[in-house]
Symmetry: D2
Subunit: 351 residues, 4 copies
């Protein structure tokens, strides 16, 4: 797997650049007999769409997914599902000035170093647009895990330094910032607005909850399911940290405080975040991903050009102020993909 494929049995390959004709994904290994339509997938894609929020880009990404294979008369057949999402409204000219410059915080420099060539338009392969294919594939993964009663939901836990103080069930879904704490959300929105006004961007933390997951998913020792979650999320360009359960806070706990006592009704606390020794315990799975601020800022920045000469770059174009909340369905998709894969792996050994 040279790098654009994830999964052992439920396997996703994405392809596509920001300003090419299309992006897409191939899902190989999807079990047969699952009802699947473009509408099912579109719903998740729409959640990734820029809205009318202060955080949003004004690029109009009305992504329309096409299913090109693997579905017959409304059901998956077991053969590869090819998903295609045409790129629209890509104004490549806006990137002409960037052809020979490396934008700080972006992959421009590293792609050039790696390949000796790069599609500079809109970040090319490193663009957030690549995640459209992930979300589309994740919608299929959700269907696979739903059959086992597993759900995945994510929300904004922190944005621009503002953390949620409480969790109001159902609030995140209805909220523009996918925030389960309405008061915190107001502060977050203010931070977003301030950053936009300053031509700047802000980061945040996404929290992901998996419910209904049976115990036993995950493989020792390099196929631990938390290792796969970490890889799937750190595989998003924006993510700089991942933690499970108590996470970094566990490093400051004593064993007697951190261990989750077990009773006949299950685990009495959940510092483990639903995973022990890399295998799900049946408790809810809790994952957090730290997202850096978007690198494209309107302020002038010091950089170099492809010849190593100093330069100043100002990134124009239409950019979001934060990856949150648009990254949320992407995080859900990645977690669902990992779960679908491990669900099938477990069936292989225990059914």
């Amino acid at each position: 797997m040279p790098g654009n494929t994830i999964g052992l049995l439920f396997q996703i390959t994405t392809w596509g650049e920001s300003h090419g004709p299309a992006t897409g994904a191939v899902i190989d290994g999807c079990p047969p007999g699952i009802e699947l339509s473009e509408t099912d997938i579109q719903a998740d894609l729409d959640r990734r769409r820029p809205g009318t929020l202060p955080s949003a880009s004004t690029r109009s990404e009305t992504d329309r997914v096409q299913i090109l294979s693997g579905v017959f008369e409304g059901k998956t057949t077991g053969t590869p599902i090819s998903l295609l999402i045409p790129n629209r409204d890509a104004r490549s000219d806006a990137y002409d000035d960037l052809r020979n410059l490396f934008r700080p915080g972006h992959g421009d420099f590293t792609y050039q170093a790696k390949y000796g060539i790069r599609d500079h338009r809109g970040g090319g392969r490193a663009s957030g647009r690549e995640t459209a294919g992930r979300v589309a594939a994740g919608a299929v993964a959700r269907k696979v895990i739903a059959r086992a009663g597993i759900t995945v939901e994510a929300w904004t836990r922190e944005l621009g330094g503002v953390a949620i103080r409480r969790f109001l069930p159902g609030a995140a879904q209805a909220s523009p910032l996918r925030c389960p704490d309405p008061e915190a959300e107001q502060e977050m929105a203010a931070r977003l607005e301030a950053a936009r006004a300053a031509g700047d961007t802000i980061g945040g933390i996404v929290e992901i909850l998996v419910e209904g997951c049976p115990p036993g998913l995950g493989d020792p020792v390099f196929g631990k399911i938390d290792a796969d979650f970490a890889s799937a999320l750190m595989g998003l360009g924006t993510v700089k940290g991942v933690e499970i359960g108590a996470g970094f806070a566990a490093a400051r706990m004593s064993g007697s405080a951190c261990n989750d006592p077990i009773g006949p009704a299950g685990f009495q606390t959940n510092h483990a975040g639903g995973i022990l020794a890399g295998i799900t315990s049946g408790a809810p799975i809790v994952i957090r991903a730290a997202c850096k601020p978007i690198a494209s800022i309107a302020c002038p920045q010091e950089t170099i050009d492809v010849h190593g000469r100093p330069a100043v770059v100002t990134v124009g174009g239409r950019h979001d102020v934060s990856v949150i909340p648009r990254i949320i369905p992407v995080c859900e998709a990645m977690v669902a993909i990992v779960l679908a894969d491990h669900l099938m792996r477990q069936k292989a050994i225990r059914s």
Copy 2:
């Protein structure tokens, strides 16, 4: 890769249980012509050995590695290198009481749920002993990356809530706790002693630094090198969080503060931790891993037995008070293995 193998080109498979006859690793894909002896590997294994520290188990693990294949007249041949480390001094009887109990914080419950059978002795496959094979393989990986001028070094950044305040070059290597700040180390030692006295354990944070890494290692989009680091470290049972560069702190930064300006001499700051868009930038790579407190504590804990009945478990035996500092060479090994793999992957496309 069902779960006990890591890497695409430089590939490690480990095997072995805590109280079986031996543990080991097979390295497949090691380039030919590298000088390699058991002594080379032994040095790293010895760093993993319990010492005379307050943190240490009294189990005598004088691991002696044997090279069974892949080396001829002192040099690697390109064929699989089989490493075997006999288990010694394994007192299985001490675990008889635990046969039917699930120790909180351990993989007992999840292994039973996954497989319907488990080797309860000393944690079986989920034991820290499995990491001996990783360290042995990591010693070979170090040799591979050393040819490209890459070094990996890790140290204790935090232990029992005590964080380092300064970094004294060279201090960590000479220090019993692998701590680069002698004053902080004294406080850490006190925390360890207090925990031991209470029959308790403590966690901490390991920091890993990679120097000399060329730009261009890492593959878009699911083979990002930071995703692979995250997976390799989260694949240690003790690790509950991983971050790169500014990590979780990046979530609280603005884009203008977080972006690393680029000058003719290179990156002027390193919030990215040496990785942009999943590809190394040539700047030093900085990774941190949060380690939970060891689950085996001497205090009585609530649990259930294999029949679901409530029980109280007290874990006897000889256990460490913290995985730190013994986990440090393991973290180094995992990072070196990922680097060796990506170094070879890059050679495949650009040489």
Copy 3:
């Protein structure tokens, strides 16, 4: 790799059904900087097109490939290359009678047994149309290996029981049946015509020659390059046998006759077919693939329906009389793909 992906470093995933909207392939791992256009690929696709031969189907397959990603300003960028070939002229109605019947010699029965569902139209995923994606990907593989001076060429060695008696250099390319022996070709054409008149089909043998391959490609022991050639060719539905060098004839030779003596100028004979212990020797690589007769015949055949009841099936539609010569560019593509992969694998360990 659940089944629709081949290769470790130069990796091809194909997708698509005979009567879906399109078929295609994703190439992951292609080195950057290779000039590539749709025209380059189209040339190979055209060689797979039905011609005006007695062997040809009358379905009009003017396959037009589109490059959707991975190429920028005429050069590969190192990111996945997505190739799409729209399906045209697919008359699904012709297959309505076959919805509930299993055609003998086809995958109808086995797909139904495997998945419990199948796209019966035109053979679905098991159709020869799937090979369009392989040929398109193979065209890219050829470009990769051409940089190392490696060429792949295949021809008809046997058709309908008529074997070539001599090899006229250059004749195969110019010949409608890709036959290097003009006299034999006349007999082959007569067999084809007789079979068509009888509503029947015939099989044959393709021979593939690789020239310019450096020694050293192939990995012990399960990654032997001849094992990969065998897998790649047996992975064509039509192929029932594969042999390398002397092949089955080697089973009837003595060691003293079969061993190829080595002189300062190289191997003096080539019974090994250019491969020793699974690794290329530098001698020309010779492979043969036995193709069964096409299963779709106009004669009535005994079968059962999906309920297990006896039935008689007569396969209408427009079908070829033999997979030869259309399978020839497909065989070349598969061999080129394996070579590209191993060329890159060798670079990873020796550069």
Copy 4:
């Protein structure tokens, strides 16, 4: 998978050289709860042992397998099974003359070309001894498939040009040459004796029969089960050709003769050899592997040394006259390993 690993879910990695301290295999992915002892494995290893036949080497290979992990109280636990077979009676001195010579028909030249270094003693990694690990792993695979009612049996179909004329059930197992036709066996034995007297060797054909295999195993399109069989068998250094069902003869048949009619009781003929479109049909699976004569012959042969200078080599040592019948349990092992893998893959999607 750099080359020494086979399988996706039931995964085998072998390691070891002919004259190193040991050879072995790691089985990853074996389902838990299967009764397994060293005795189970030893039985298959003993069938690979040189006997008192005219074909046999006089090297005393009393291979004794040790299970080092993955089995607890007599049952598999689901964790990796490490198998170790110490090398005994390895007279390396006998190979001193060969250090700088390339034996015709052997991998000496290609290993040197690939790696620039090689363990010349006894063929190193390319030795037939490597197959001991395969046979040991195959014994475990047999246990896995036996639970599904699948059996694998192989026999000598042809030796030194003598083919069997009839099949006497049960005769092969009792026969020294694993030949199901006692008359043919006498002729085969005479050919062996003649070859031995001449210091020469002979080849032959092994036939493998799989019974009890359910329909539905195998994955389109590159994971076809016949492609995997072909790869697994061609991955034996001695095998130069593989065919399924009618095999090469299918190339000379018409479609009306080759297609297997289907009736309510199943397939009425079996030219397909139990596989259609790469998926098992439920009919018996029939595979043949063509084995070349052993390359080590006592006659002088032309060759070159590592400096490219002409030389004459005479291979001393103790060598078999044919790989048959010792290769037979190896062929069975490889087929069983592929079946175990696909059985698990099918469970993942349909259970």
